[in-house]
Symmetry: C2
Subunit: 202 residues, 2 copies
């Protein structure tokens, strides 16, 4: 019965709610995501949300899932559009920068643990999502090593985490400074440094 209910429960509405939630979080931060606001954004009354999700935690889970999808999407797109490891990473960096400057809070949310909230069991899911992403990045690096583009003596995983480190503190700085921090410039110089690191002969 619950199975059939899940199937009937029009999936579009569920998605619409999750996407509205992500939109609100992008705009105002997670702390201000209340069911009243979310309902208003969707155009319904708060209690209506309970027709589609059992509770707020389930909605947050859906948001996390949405974020996971967006991340995979980004990596797959640069995979299709670029064909060397370094240019893929470069494109991914540009994409991240653009995400941040266009008010997309995904990187901020992902690395702030805010989304864990009270639900300790969501911590595991968050770790999984981040870890998956790191592993995708590590694959890019490893492929670059196989192709001789990247020096073979670096740990792909460490390189991947460091890659995130290029953009993530900068994102916070940018946001905290109200856009005064020159994110693009930082990304450019940091990327140059990073690329040299990966390609230098040991």
């Amino acid at each position: 019965m619950s199975e059939s209910k899940d199937r009937l429960d029009s999936k579009t509405r569920r998605d619409e709610i999750a996407e509205a939630a992500l939109r609100l979080v992008n705009r105002d931060g997670l702390k201000k995501l209340s069911l009243s606001r979310l309902a208003a954004e969707v155009g319904v009354v708060p209690s209506a949300l309970y027709r589609h999700y059992p509770n707020k935690d389930a909605i947050l889970d859906a948001v996390l899932e949405l974020i996971r999808d967006r991340l995979t999407e980004h990596v797959e797109r640069v995979r299709k559009e670029h064909f060397s490891a370094l240019s893929r990473l470069d494109a991914l960096l540009a994409r991240h920068v653009q995400m941040i400057t266009s008010q997309q809070a995904i990187p901020r949310i992902l690395f702030s643990e805010e989304i864990v909230g009270d639900a300790e069991e969501r911590r595991g899911r968050l770790a999984e999502v981040i870890h998956e992403h790191v592993m995708r990045l590590a694959s890019l690096v490893a492929e670059g090593q196989a192709g001789g583009e990247i020096r073979p003596d670096v740990s792909p995983e460490s390189a991947a985490v460091m890659f995130l480190g290029i953009v993530q503190p900068a994102a916070i700085l940018w946001h905290a400074s109200g856009g005064r921090f020159d994110l693009t410039e930082h990304a450019r110089t940091a990327w140059n440094l990073y690329r040299e690191c990966l390609t230098a002969k040991s």
Copy 2:
């Protein structure tokens, strides 16, 4: 009058409250920091807090100030204990790793924007605190350049932000994974890579 009140308002109590708040945030995250919990931690009734702070925002400001002090403290200590730029950065990294693994949430808080909350005016203070810290790190780098230890063609500020990038995403991973992520190992390999970056001849 307000001046004398500030002076009389036994500073120890104010500090005690701020430190208790930081302790609670370290333990349970910012979202769970309510005045009731804080009062309980201090050993007092919620309304008593208003004898020392005008409102909750003022307490959060004090916490931010406390964090600022801790950060300066750390940099100054490695300045005294080490005398080359690279070993200072190395020691600082170790110190950050230790802070994280010993449940000190300072890096997480600082880079999560959580503390900004509703008070938009605190965003400026947060940016200031982070920027100060970056500038201190940049000074370390610049001194290393002056001493010939670090290649002169990197931007000290970018290098400083990247330094934060070594530890900060790793901190999240570590915390999200419940300690399964090998933070120490990552710090070691990332540091090696980073150091090579800074010392490589261009």
